[in-house]
Symmetry: C2
Subunit: 150 residues, 2 copies
């Protein structure tokens, strides 16, 4: 076993890469003026932006209880990132939607992510980055979604 194919080194590199990406996204979002959001909120925004999200959907998506999700939604509503609307098909449920502010915040996150990826692309030869990204997608094609893990 040489250092070059030690799987543990690779595992650490994966963790480092996502640390770096999340830090860069968080810094970009804060620099854009959204000081009261954390990466956890970003995971919630991503689900809500997909549409057809209820509190129970969000709970399942984030891997927390319904109550925890309801409290998170409360905070996001109070901070004017999210609105609750009547659900067209189920009078018990409430449909979650991003406000203009929430949408702007999500786009700030996406722009920051894109800047981070562009920066990575500039650090390595173009053919390497194309192959790298293709492999990345192949490896994660079967992963249904990302969510907070710590």
């Amino acid at each position: 076993m040489t250092a070059a194919d030690d799987p543990w080194i690779t595992a650490v590199a994966v963790l480092k890469l996502s640390t770096r990406l999340i830090d860069q996204i968080d810094a970009g979002v804060r620099a854009a003026g959204f000081a009261d959001v954390t990466p956890l909120h970003g995971f919630a925004f991503a689900r809500i932006a997909m549409g057809d999200a209820t509190t129970a959907d969000l709970a399942a998506h984030l891997g927390v209880t319904k109550q925890a999700a309801a409290q998170l939604v409360d905070r996001l509503v109070r901070a004017r990132y999210v609105e609750r609307h009547p659900h067209p098909a189920d009078r018990r449920a409430r449909l979650l939607e991003l406000t203009d502010r929430g949408t702007a915040c999500m786009w700030a996150a996406r722009r920051a992510a894109e800047r981070a990826i562009d920066q990575w692309r500039a650090e390595i030869p173009p053919e390497d980055s194309a192959r790298f990204e293709a492999t990345l997608r192949a490896l994660t094609a079967s992963v249904p979604f990302y969510r907070p893990t710590v």
Copy 2:
């Protein structure tokens, strides 16, 4: 902009990959009988295993306050993963060390990570995985460490 080079897709793939890796490590650690640890503890173990760790070092490493780190250490000591020893050079400080149980837990995590990486390698052509891992290391060579981000 085609889907193939949309940086956002790549960013999501990075997050998915680390979600998948952390889940696999966590499952392996729990399957090995360490039911009372979380990924957060793993980040702490990694620092303590490097040696010369004090509570303040751990706090800086994890990005939390000294008090939060001290409380985390308390829990790990009570669960018999960590021991506090006198610091040889500073009578205020206490040197943190993994117990045999803590070391066994860390190795369970490493074995789980290695199984995960081996599984990825089996999913893609060998030359792709070698290049993928090399690029991964190049991109993260300057990242000092990984830590919890959510």
